[in-house]
Structure formats: C-alpha cells, structure tokens
Amino acid sequence: MFDVARSQEDVWIPTTCGLCYSVCALKVHRVNGTVVKIEGNPDSTTNRGRLCPRGVSGIMTLYNPDRVDVPLKRTNPAKGLDVDPGWVEISWEEALDAVAARLKKIRQEDPRKLLLTGTVTTQDEVPFAKIFAMAFGTPNGWNSGAGNHCGTAEHLYGALLHASWSKQPDPDHCRYLLNFGTASGFGSYYCVTGMAQRIAEARVRGMKHVCIDPFLSPSAEKADEWIPIVPGTDGAFAMAVLNVLLHELDIYDGDYLKHHTNAPYLIGDDGVYVRDAENHQPLIWDPLLGAAKPFDSPGISDFALEGEFSVDGLRARPAFALLKEHLKPFTPEWAETITSVPAATIRRVATEFGQEARIGSTIVLDGKTLPYRPVAVTYFKGAQGHKNALLSCMALELLTEIVGASNVPGGLLGMNSCSLGHPDSDQPKWIPHAGRDGLMVTGYWPNPPPPYPPKEVKKPETIDLRAMVPTCPGSSGALPVVMADPERFKVPYKIEMNFHVGANHVMTFADPNAIAAAFKDVFQVSFALFLDESTYFSDIVLPAASYLERLSHTADWMSSNSPVGEWCYHVRQPVVETIAERRSVCEVLLDLAERLEMREEFYALINVMLDLKEPHRIDPSHRFSWEEIVDRRYKSLFGEGRGLKWFKEHGLLKWPKKVEEVYWKPFSHARVPIYFEWFKTLGEQVEAMAQKTGIDLDTSAFQPLPEWRPCRSHRENSDGFDLYAIYYKFPMQTFSGTYDNPWLDEVCNIERFAYGVAINAETSRRKGIEEGDWMEITSVSTGNTVRGRAAVTEGIHPEVIAIAGCGGHWSKYLSVASQEGKGLCFEWLMPVGLDNVDIPSLTQDLCVKVKVAKAGAAS
C-alpha cells in the first residue's frame, strides 16, 4: 500500500479494463501522477469489485518501456517474419499525410482494396474503426486473433437460437452444467470475472459440472467429473446424447418444442417446409382437427410432433419426427468408436442430463410462473473450431433445445438477448422478435445485419468469401486464402492497404508463413501498443493509447454485461495524461476523415451505428471532437442529465434486470429452428453461385440436421504423426497480446502448464520424454516445428498434447515475451487453406496431427 500522507495528489478514477473483451469495471489509484493500483470497482455489477490477473496487471501495460511512443516509418522495403523493418521516427503530421495520401488514392480507385484488421479485445476502437471503414466504402474486415480464438459457428447459433452473440449457464439456478471444454466461469470467455464469481457460488451450492475436454484444463480441473475425449469429436458425443434422450429415454420438452420451435413444422420429402397455398406460411399438423394449418393460424388445438401426414397428396412429416428418425443410428456405441468415451459413460451422462432437466417443472420468479430447466450445455472454440463446425455445433445446441432449457430459469441464457432499457430513458432497447416463417430475429446484433433472415448470396466481392457465404457471422477463416489469390475466387481487386488496429494476425490465426505471404505486399498502417510480429509487415506504425489513456463511447456491449442480476454501463476514461506521443485511435480516425474529406459519410454512419438520437445526432456542417461524440452517445442512451461529465464523475450507471429480460423466452412468440431448413436452401444458392462463378467450393455441410464428420486430422495416419495438438485458453494471458507483461510472465513461470506442453504420462514414457525436457513438435499439415518443455501429466488424453494460450513470440522488440521458453505459438502447426475451413461458418479447423520427439533425439 502506497504511503499517500505526503502526496499532493491521491485520486481513485473509475474506468473499465481493456485487456480482454469482458469490460470489467475498474477503480484506478493515481498518486502524484503515477498509477499505483488497479482494483475492481465494487459498485459495478459486471465484475463486482474483483479482477482477474490480467486486469490487475495493467500498470505494466501502461508503463512497459517496449510500448510504441512515437510514429514510426519503415526504411527496409523487404518484408518478412524475421526482417527488421528498420524503424525511423517521424512526426504525426508526416505519418498522417502519408496514410491519408494512400487512403485517398485507394478510395478513388476502389475502396474495397482497403482491409481493416483488428482485435476483439478493444470493444471501443475496432467497432469505431469499422464505422470508418464502412464510410470509406470497404466491406473488408478481419478480427484476426478471432481466427483461432473465436467461435464463428457458435456465434451463428447464438443469433439463431438465443438472439445473442454468446451464451452462459444461468448461474443462479443451473444444477447440471454439461461443459464441452469452455472456460466460461473458469477464467476466460465473456464477463470473465463476474461469471467466475457466480459459477463458484453455483459450485458451492451444489451445481454438478461435467466437463468434456481432451485436457484436464483450468475448467475441467473444477469439474465434478472430467471426461476426456478425442479432439474434434464433441459433436459425435452430443449426437449420441440426443439419441439416448429421444430413442431410449423418451425425454424431450414437447410443450416447448410445439410452441417455441419449428419442431411441428411439416417437412416434405424434398426437405423443405410444406407451405400454405395461400399465405405461404409453413404448415403444421393439428391432430385433433386432422388437418394441416399455417403455424400461426388461430384456433390450433395441438401441434403434431410425430407421425406422417398427407398434404395435397404429398407426404409431410413434422420436423421433430425427421430429427428423431435421423438420430436413430447415432448410438453411444457408435460414438464410442469416434470419441473414445465409453458408451456407458455417454448413456449415464445423457440420463443425468435428461432427468435433471426436470421437464414439466416450474419456478415462480418475481410473481411469474416460468419453466424450470436447470441444465445447460456450454461450448466454444475447442468444440467448435473444426472442419465440422456447423453440424457439430448444431448437435451441441440441440441438447438445450430438446429439453426446453433455452433462456428459462436454470438453463442456457443468451448474454443479454433482451434489453428493455433504463427506466428513465427506455434505452438501450432491443427485443428478439419473430421474422420470416415465424423464426426469431435478434433484437440487436454487433455485426449488422444479423444472420437471420438469411442474407442474399452475392458474387464473391469481399476478400473473405462472406458475400457468397453469408452464414459466417464473424471473422472468416477464408480471408488469407482469398487474399493470397483473389483471381482464383473471382474477386475483382487485390487488397492494397491494411488498416491494422491492435491485433497480431501474423501469429494468431494459422501458419505464420502463409499469413506473411498474404500480407507482405500490402501497405500496412498499424495502430499499435507494441512492435509485435505483425508490425514487422507495417509501413507506418502509429503509437496507440492504451485503455488506461483513452476515452471511449462506453465499451460495454451485448456480451460484457452479466447475464443475470443488474445492467451496468460504464465509462472508459484516461487515468493519466497520454504518455509520449500516443494517441486515441478514435481521435485519429476523426482527423483522417477530415483529411479524406469524408466527414459527411462518416458522421452519417456514426449517427446510425452509435444510435445517436435527436437532438444529439452529429451534423456534418461542423466538426465534432471525440469528447463531444462520446458525450452525445451517453446522452442518447441515458438522457440529457447523464452525459460524459456525469459518467466521468460516477463511473457507471446500473439498474436491476427484469425477469422478462433474463428469462425472456417464455414471453416471446419468436420460434427457433430445431430443423435448419434454410441452411439447405441457402446452401443450394451458394452452390449455384460457386458454379456460376467457377469456384470450387464444398457446400455439402449446408444441412438441416446435425452430423458428425471427421476433420482432416482424424483421417491422418502418416507415420509417426500419432498425436493431436490442441490449444486452450488460460486465465493468465489474453490471446497473444499480454505476453510482454512481466508480472504475468512471473506467474506463468511458476505454473508449468502455462509455458509448457501438457503430455500424457504414459505417452511421454513411451517416447522417452521426461518432465521439463525440450520437445520438438512437428505438424503433419504445415511441416513446421515448434519447441516446448514437457509438462507430464495424467490429466490429458493419451493421444493429445495441449498448449496454453498464444506465446512463443519472436519480435525482437518484445523484451519479455520473445525470450526462449515463454510459451508456444500453436498457429505454426495449423495450415491455411479451405480444406481446413468449415465452409458454412468459415471456421478455421484447429484440429492438427503432430509428431512429438525429445529435442535433439534422432527421429
């Protein structure tokens, strides 16, 4: 504790953390101008006064001498992973002149030649840069770290089934958490600190946690039962659980399926909805009337879920019946051969899960009687980051839907699917609603438009295939493939410039050699905290202000608030004067818009995207400062009296969540699909477009019902490549971006799994590897080799090695992170290519087979 008795200054400043996407509330202690402590703000309900190790460590991000302090220009025209750019310092004026000149030229020629890359950890700068890019006229963006760390298919289902970007188990009421390897509540994922606290409380009150994970990971360590599984086979496990529920136990929530899903919609033998001849709505079968009726017609007495009916002389079956029939072959015995999990274990888990769902039971909350389904299924990158992403995730999602545990007490909750607004202003407001065919449309979506209703399949005019494959809701795993060879994909331009806002895409997606090849001829401008590996490819580097040095238009977003409890909106404000010549990205973007004479387009989109309301909309007839825009954003949300000044002083605004916001599903008329009919029809359109444009694309995964399909690694039997390598998140680092923090380094040095490679004890014995030995890990897919120290454990599947986080930096400008033995960069092992991408979700497959040997030993 700092002695402040003789200090001239001793202040605590409320702000928010920016070291991951969770946006925890901070109180920062500043004494005589120096930050001496960062604490969680106890007034905030997001993190309830607590912080993870990264949040506590921010002082070393602020004062790290490796930080970029002045604008830099490269002098070495050659670019490469190990080629020193030869930085020279330049003025901001010179830097912005050069950037503006290049942007102007591109905008005149074809604005789509501009790419925006960014990190998901800055929930203020990158979203604002996206508005800039839209105003500029480019559709091309890439959250590069997200390639490996994010959940593209998972987010798609978040939209379709939960009206939200992400999901959490109901920490207040869940009694059985079936967790496919995600770290939600265990130090990663969204609302990290708040959920860690709430899930810990759930553990103490007796929630059972079953964790299915190849590695006894930080979350599996906390489980009541750890079930090791072969990587990439979680979908097969889920299929077998569905099989047991429907074919052995007859457990499903019929009432939920009839009224909240498309389970009763009739499907013809062609696989699509049977529609009413007049109003074209999908039909259901009313068994009491003995007739087909449009799903939303009045007077329906009941909805058939099973059976076979004749509509206009053609066979029609309820979607649920098709799902059930489809699942018949996928028994636990079938799944055992794929997952390595004993059939008896799968059967027992299915039984526990089905019984604990307590179908039919209710709970009274705030005077309202609601379904009580205290089971939840969680998964993220580990289970979904595979070639079979779309269809595996479908199986995982259907577990929740079949038992009716979606957005009801005890079940799986969308992270803030429904917001009715602050009592004084009714803002922010978003409510899921019924759209085409009665299916749910999100009330809010961070990357508009939302995935449903399906977007038009267009020619491949974006650099990431997303125009042609509109089912991808986030960052596309195809981007580096298309960028390296746009002609092959009939993209009528090349990326000439990358506007790079705080991501390390060279080492956080897949094979750095392939990423380097795609980016080496691109003029790159980086807003950077550090001269990391990606800045080796930059032409100009601009010194960015860190989250402790900048102002933001509330960094809170859909998935940063806790799913239960209270709403909480915060301010992010500078806690010190900006150091050296560092500047806020948002301020620089406003400057650049002036230089490019694009104020009108930029302001128009700022008004729309920040949802500025009269009289707070910004008028392009005069220039607005960043402070003014932030002020107007707060006033638009919370009224004239709660502008920036109010937020700077109070730090946050909170109010209780209503039952109908948290457990919104019983109150909603919107149905969700359990039969993904439109995947099939959209897939046909994608196939047609691919053929028309002459692109070779495997569209076979656009299916309405779940499947498990092997990844490339599951079929890989090359001599000696006998282990799967996986990567996982852990609480001490965020992606690759925090590895230069010496305090985090110190705790990682103590924890042998943080920088080491987990390997099964029996496997290591067989290979003559002992604890602490250096190992060489070679990928069958890339041929690349990485080195790491063995962390021998019983707690890992014998066919798997596990690597934490994204270390193994090599930039010579990172004095802490680039030392030997500071973790491994898993990405060297993963190939770039469409063979490794799930086409419908454009998810990168992180399943990879490797050869492992003691370093120096003969192979």
């Binding site: 190790p53 506590v56 509540g185 810990a200």
Partner: protein, 200 residues
Amino acid sequence: MRYGMVIDLKKCIGCTGCALVCKVENATPPGIVWLRVIKHETGKYPQVRRVSIPLQCMHCAEPPCMEVCPTGATSKRADGIVDIDAEKCVGCRYCMVACPYDQRFFLAKERHYFKNGPTPFEQIGYQRHQEGVVSKCNFCAPRLEKGLEPACAANCMTKARTFGDLEDPNSEASRLIRDRGGYQLYPELGTNPSVYYLPA
C-alpha cells in the same frame, strides 16, 4: 485476536489473481513472490484430480522462523501476524531454511522488470523494500490498519478467500473452517498455521 485466512479450494480456479494483486499492492521486485499458486495432481488417467493451491506465509501460531531468528527481526504480533522488522534483519536467512512452507524471500539486489530501467511504478514502489533482508506476506498489515482486507482477499474473483479472526467462533472464517472441514498444511509439524483450506 488471531488473524487468519480461509481459502476455499472449491471456489478457487487457480487464476493467480491473488499472486498478481499481491505483487502490485506490495510492489515486490522481480523474484520476490509473497504469494504463489501451485497445482497438485493425484490419480491415474482418466481418474485424475488437479487442484490449485495458493501458498503464502502461513502466519503460524508456532512459527519455526521466529525461533531461529538471531536478531529478533521476526516476531509474532498480538493479532497473530508474523512480522519481519527489516531494520533488525541481517539477512542470515536461517528463517528461510526453517520455514517448512518455503514462504520467505531474500532480496539480494534490487532488479527491475525491464532491462532499460525501472518503470514509474517501480521507482516509487521499491522504496519500500531493502536489499539484503528477508521479506514475506504480512497479511497486508498497512491495509488492515485502514480497515481493509488483505489485497488477495479483497480481489479474489471467485471470492474464495475469507479473512477474519480465528479466535472468534462467530467469525465467517471460523464458521467456514467448522462447517466445511477446513484444514492446515503439514499439521504434523505443530506449526499451527493461520491459513486454512477448504476441500476442493
């Protein structure tokens, strides 16, 4: 009055937030780690448990470190905190050998985290540490004087830590030890630590 810390291993997720916040609160230089988290694994695949165990000075009722201190630098306060008076410490490090929990640290020479000099935080913070003496966790005694909990307890993101008076049977700490079967490390040594653990 006997201050103690109860650490609920069922709640703890091994995130090392306590280790980090200790670092910042006490501005300990590189290599001085008053609080660290280790992992303990038992069983054979696939029946395996791995538990995270935060370790710090146990503030023993019978501290072996105090017995061996030749200058009286280590003492036990009336509130149970085992304290080191840096002015009296001569850096002989007998206490480090005596401590069965390996929770004492010797600062031979002040270093900084970055090779190009101390950060502004370190310039101020390291004034509190002396070279050539032994240091360790003191339950954040300066915070206690201000009515605050130790930093590790105040920050723990799973609220796994409960700080309180072990001699008061009605304190939350005492209640947890009683109700949840709290235990000490190496009880057979007779040190009677003031840090208790609740089973995972």
